[in-house]
């Protein structure tokens, strides 16, 4: 199957700064694709180019095989965008907002009303449809912001931090909506700093920094780059010198406590890890060393993200 979205060697410069540097990736129909990167990494610039808001200095974007041409507004008909900042009119009701935005995508008459009713229902705002949105809570505004982007049934939906500042209920509801759209065949590009959301929603992700693509793969494959770690905190400061815990384990001193750490490179070695844990616990018991606590550090996108982009603060 041909990719729905093809991003090919995209470059965008602002003076001397290269915001996006030869960025390439594909998104399949019905796929949820995560776009991760620290602030200023080039995510927003890339997304603005994909939705036709910004011209690329070089490179190409194709949607359903057709080159995205900024001079042809109709080429944006198949794209939906949920912007990070709320983009709704506070002095219009929820229904008026949706009617207006849907009409811009050439929906009219009964079809328009149907789509608006469906969208209101989807985001749980039917009861407040005729209230001014200026009086809405943050979560309600976010849900309306989402609804305004999907009424025209886009084939590609770009979400930029769609759950910022919302309560857990609204977040769960929005994620459910996104998954429902994905199931119905809409391709999703999901940009967020909430890594756990990306892990839940997306099957593939790309990590970019300084405009460059650092990693792009399925979530499972990406997580293989991060080891599975186990940490045993011992109830004493020192361990007997004669005690050997094997090659994979190391004993470190953390204040008054001795800490045993060991890891496997990926989750595929789960069996080996179990075996290591059993063996180490047996050895510790044999030397009468008690274990105060056990902590595991599972591989996740956040650890991978920090590993690839570093801990330096970004502007």
């Amino acid at each position: 199957m041909a990719p729905l979205l093809e991003v090919d060697n995209l470059v965008r410069k602002y003076g001397d700064l290269t915001a996006v540097d030869r960025l390439s990736f594909d998104v399949e129909p019905g796929e949820a694709f995560g776009l991760l990167g620290p602030n200023g990494a080039g995510k927003s610039t890339a997304m603005m180019m994909i939705c036709g808001l910004l011209a690329a200095d070089s490179g190409e974007i194709r949607i359903e095989g057709q080159r995205l041409d900024r001079s042809r507004p109709e080429s944006r008909q198949r794209i939906g965008v949920v912007p990070q900042d709320l983009a709704i009119y506070p002095d219009l009701t929820a229904r008026e907002n949706l009617m207006f935005f849907a009409s811009l995508y050439h929906l009219s008459g009964s079809k328009l009303r149907q789509k608006v009713d469906k969208a209101l229902e989807r985001v749980g705002l039917t009861a407040r449809a005729d209230d001014m949105t200026g009086d809405f809570s943050g979560g309600m505004k976010r849900r309306l912001n989402f609804a305004a982007a999907v009424m025209h049934d886009p084939v590609l939906l770009i979400l930029d931090e769609p759950t910022v500042g919302v309560d857990p209920q609204s977040r769960a509801h929005l994620i459910e909506c996104i998954r429902s759209l994905q199931m119905s065949g809409t391709a999703i590009i999901y940009a967020s700093h909430y890594m756990e959301e990306v892990q839940i929603v997306c099957s593939r992700a790309a990590i970019i920094d300084h405009g460059k693509l650092l990693a792009c793969d399925t979530i499972a494959q990406l997580l293989k780059q991060i080891p599975f770690e186990v940490e045993l905190r011992l109830g004493q400061s020192k361990v007997p010198e004669s005690m050997s815990l094997g090659k994979s384990a190391r004993i470190e001193q953390d204040g008054d406590e001795a800490v045993v750490r060991f890891s496997t490179q990926n989750q595929a070695c789960e069996l080996a890890l179990n075996s290591d844990v059993t063996q180490i616990l047996t050895t510790l018991e044999k030397h009468s060393v008690s274990v105060r606590s056990i902590r595991t550090h599972e591989p996740n996108l956040e650890r991978l993200f920090l590993k690839l982009t570093g801990h330096r603060l970004r502007d």
Partner: protein, 411 residues
């Protein structure tokens, strides 16, 4: 079609913005009423002087030459000559009073023709009589027994100078028969010169019911209408800024619609609002302040359309330039007040220096005011003047819109 959708949305938003509506419609009415009633009298005198100089002629000479002088003076279209009632022309006290006392408020100047005026003309040499240079007559009009007194409350050096010049020109014509007697070459001119009738024509004109309306408001209402139509610049700036700040402008740009449709959609509601504002002010002007719509009221339509087009296009351009609320306020007010001052919205252009009058033509306001002035204050408005003003306003509109579109695309 897309522009129409955006227009409807903005009209709905505007209808919910009571503050903007009050600023655009109610405020001009209040200001016109306040300024009109407080400074109306002075303006009325000045306006009357500017548009039709009223000169009272006190003829103590009662000679044919004096009658010719008054007749030629009355022949100028912008001059209305009124005969001062004189009982006994030999009454020296009456003559003195006419020469010293200022005319009443409804008269701009008084020309006193002293006894012996015609005799004095005959006494003067040909050289002096034909000299265009006043200095050769040493004492100016007084040297030929003429006195010109101006109205103190509406004293205006320009008007006084104009009246003095008109009297001198009339005098040149009036003395042609005298000259012809002294210089044969003037006989033809004296024979051909038609002696206008000074009193009847002027008094008939005075008595004729003319559709000139209340002159104060003939100036105030168009001026303040143009001023407040251009206040849209600020309101449009705020609307654009609000759209940008709320993120909805980005959503519009992401939608499958052309930038020009977005701009048209953002501009049209204000164009309509501007027309509504103008119509309300014109109708109120007529009903409340007795203002006239001129002899061809239908010509108001192109003037209103072109003025609104220029104002909204300027607003659009400004909206794409201003980036913050403070820029909208400070820059907007600067543009509005300076252009209003330069253009003649606050002070009639006729009162400005020639240089200022030329500079004012760089503002659309001035062309709009010219068109309104031609229609509302002239007995026979010239279509060519109104057409030219409307054409220039459309050129301004197109230029502002193109700059706005360029800025919008580039942003």
């Amino acid at each position: 079609m897309d522009a129409f959708k955006i227009m409807l949305k903005d009209l709905r938003l505007l209808s919910r913005d009571r503050r903007a509506l009050i600023i655009l419609v109610a405020m001009p009415m209040v200001i016109i009423a306040i300024v009109g009633s407080s400074t109306g009298r002075l303006r009325a005198n000045r306006e009357q002087s500017r548009q039709g100089l009223t000169i009272e002629v006190a003829d103590f000479d009662q000679s044919e030459t004096a009658r010719r002088l008054a007749g030629f003076l009355a022949s100028y279209k912008s001059v209305m000559v009124r005969r001062a009632e004189i009982g006994d022309r030999s009454d020296a006290t009456l003559l003195k009073r006419n020469e010293v006392e200022a005319p009443t408020d409804d008269i701009d100047m008084r020309l006193v023709i002293q006894p012996g005026f015609a005799s004095r003309i005959r006494e003067l040499s040909t050289t002096i009589l034909t000299s265009p240079d006043e200095s050769s007559r040493h004492e100016g009009l007084a040297s030929v027994n003429l006195t010109l007194i101006s109205n103190e409350t509406a004293a205006d050096p320009v008007m006084e100078g104009l009246a003095r010049s008109l009297v001198k020109l009339s005098l040149q014509n009036a003395i042609l028969p005298v000259l012809a007697e002294k210089v044969p070459s003037f006989r033809g001119a004296a024979r051909d010169s038609v002696i206008p009738e000074p009193w009847e024509e002027s008094e008939e004109a005075k008595a004729a019911p003319t559709e000139t309306g209340n002159r104060v408001y003939q100036f105030f209402i168009p001026s303040y209408t143009v001023l407040f139509v251009f206040f849209l610049v600020n309101i449009m700036g705020r609307s654009f800024l609000g759209e940008r700040d709320s993120g909805t402008l980005r959503r519009l740009r992401i939608a499958p619609i052309a930038p020009v449709a977005i701009l048209m959609g953002k501009t049209l509601p204000f164009f309509i609002l501007s027309l509504v504002q103008t119509i309300i002010l014109m109708v109120s002007g007529r009903l409340l302040f007795g203002m006239s719509w001129g002899p061809q009221p239908w010509l108001l339509i192109p003037i209103m359309l072109c003025t609104s087009a220029a104002a909204t296009a300027l607003g659009l351009m400004f909206s794409t330039l201003a980036k913050t609320e403070s820029q909208v306020s400070s820059l907007g007010n600067l543009i509005l007040l300076s252009s209003a001052g330069i253009s003649g919205c606050l002070v009639p252009r006729a009162w400005m220096s020639p240089m200022s009058q030329k500079i004012s033509l760089f503002t659309p306001h001035a062309w709009a005011l010219d068109a309104y002035s031609e229609l509302l204050t002239k007995e026979l408005p010239r279509d060519s003047v109104i057409g030219q003003s409307c054409g220039v306003l459309l050129i301004f509109s197109a230029a502002f819109f193109v700059v706005g579109l360029y800025r919008f695309r580039a942003s």
